[in-house]
């Protein structure tokens, strides 16, 4: 586990170009970025600025055209598809815009699913799932399937699922985009609290000013480049 303050993610000269017909469309243009352990960072920028592409590169979901990405000391270029899957399982938690819970599993089972993949035994699995749900304010809702949870509750389950394996970093892509403002506020506060209480690193791609206002670090992207990287008062973020 990376010590607090040391880089947990490093990107060096990361480029990504997509081929659209005969045209090369650049999505990332030489991104250099370090994310330190314990960061609660937001990645903002207009649509098409490269936020999601960069999150995909860091999450090992896509490979850069050029440059290198390292997660918790592991260069992703060295890993094959299965090894990348293992890395995501052990070191990266994901929170998506549309929650993406498995619809046929209950809230607790969605969380336990990750622990099952990790080979955690049944008793510990259930206990950790119940505790994770309690941490996100969903105690008593263990047996509810996603269809019986509100959007905000589903996103809380997704956050619990992302955190339950104690990942090195949680990557969240527009986590509040589908939530009403009160629910979005609550979710951001929850993630900020979990960042402080568990020390989990968060990198959140967002347009949402409420999320940005809570972040310890704010990174701006434009046209596939990092155009601003601002650190903020920790006390403010953790309030």
């Amino acid at each position: 586990m990376t010590e607090p303050g040391n880089p947990i993610v490093t990107c060096r000269g990361v480029e990504k170009r997509y081929r659209v017909g005969a045209i090369d469309v650049p999505a990332l243009n030489g991104v250099d970025l370090d994310i330190a352990a314990g960061d609660f960072a937001t990645l903002a920028g207009p649509s098409g600025s490269g936020k999601t592409t960069l999150l995909n590169m860091i999450g090992g979901l896509d490979r850069p055209t050029a440059g290198a990405v390292t997660v918790d000391g592991q260069p992703l270029a060295d890993l094959d598809k299965n090894a990348l899957t293992e890395l995501r399982l052990h070191k990266i938690g994901f929170v998506f815009q549309a929650y993406n819970l498995i619809p046929v599993l209950s809230a607790a089972e969605n969380i336990e699913f990750i622990l099952r993949l990790l080979g955690v035994d049944a008793r510990e699995r259930h206990a950790r799932a119940v505790a994770a749900l309690a941490d996100v304010g969903l105690a008593g809702m263990e047996d509810r399937r996603p269809a019986w949870l509100s959007g905000g509750q589903q996103q809380r389950v997704a956050v619990a699922r992302a955190l339950v394996a104690r990942p090195a970093i949680v990557l969240a892509d527009e986590p509040t985009a589908n939530l009403d403002s009160k629910t979005a506020e609550d979710l951001v506060a929850l993630m900020a609290r979990l960042n402080v209480s568990s020390g989990t690193t968060f990198l959140i791609g967002t347009h949402d000013q409420r999320v940005i206002a809570r972040s310890k670090r704010h990174i701006e992207m434009t046209d596939g480049r990092i155009t601003a990287d601002e650190r903020r008062d920790v006390a403010f973020a953790a309030e």
């Binding site: 995909n56 999450g59 299965n82 994901f94 998506f96 498995i102 619809p103 046929v104 892509d173």
Partner: protein, 409 residues
Amino acid sequence: MIGALTLLAPLAWRNLWRNPRRTLITLIVVAVGLYSILVFAAILDAWARSSRDSSLNLLTGSGQIHAAGYLDDPTVGYRMPPPGGALKTALNAPAIRAWVARVRVPVVVQSEYKTLPLTLVGVDPAGEKRISTIPDMIADGHYLSAADDAGVVLGRHLAERLKTRVGKRVIIMAQAADGTLAQQAYDVVGLFAGNQNAEDQFAFTGIATSQKMLGIGSDISEISFAVPDDQQLAGVVASLRRASPGLDVSTWAELSPLTAAVNSFMEAFVYIWLWIMFVFMAIGIVNTQLMAVFERVREFGLLQALGMRPSLILVQVTLESAMLIGVGVVAGFAASVVTIVPLRGGIDLSFLARGAEYFGAGHVLYPELAPGQFVELSIIVWLLGIVVALWPARRASHANPVEAMSHLS
């Protein structure tokens, strides 16, 4: 692997019921397909047995013994003495249910109106009843009463052609052992009603009467024997061959190649039908499973994003197919058992009258549950179903996780 199954099995089972209508359609396709295969197999098997039995029980039996050369030229010249010594001992072995000696020669039968060729069979009526169904097929008059019965039993259709009937007389002419023309008048004592070919082909008289007419002393043309179980036939034939050097010992398949061919064809046709039905089932399975996979492609990407290996996704989707097809197989199996069990008492085809005979079947078919074949066919369908479902499963395991993410942004 067991750990993976405990993870994936409940997920796979629940996924089946996300789209109950589609699942039910696939279940019905598999169940109806397997049902048709199993019921068809049972009825075809019954038909094949009926066809074989109606042919073999007429006269052939499980096998026959002849003098060398008789099968190529079945005349009085190729005859043999009645069994004795080692051959008689072998014929009386427990593996042989019954045997009977016959005289069987080509003759001409003449009535007041017509002369027709046929085969005269001299029989021992008591022994014949243990081998042949003809004694039980008397439609008019009676069967022969003794080995020296001087009457004749004709086929009903032959009698119509000869314009004769029970109580009238016919003249039978044949070449005698000394090469002269032997002829004798016979009282028609009975008419048998079997299949039309047999009715036209055979006439029966007492064996002693035929021996006397042909001047062959106690010689015979053939010995017909029956074994209780066809599986024992090869061993019985081998022992008879050892006991009768110089004689031809033949199995029913050698004596009646058409019956053997029909029998083999029926067995092969079950598998041809299986493949025909399976092609339809496969189209249904692949279509519905591909549709299910396409609808969930982002979910499979998400599962990879969460850390589920592509190989596990392949196993999960294959498991879904295995469960789905397995339930369909169980339903089809159960439905076919429920159909076949009440039919074991027999399907009466007498309404087809002579029609059934043209297909070589008896008037009643007796479908049987052959557990080995039922289970084998069911497992084949299940495994083939899983094999064709591997294609959609492979598509699922190759889903790109970025699609899941891009879908959301």
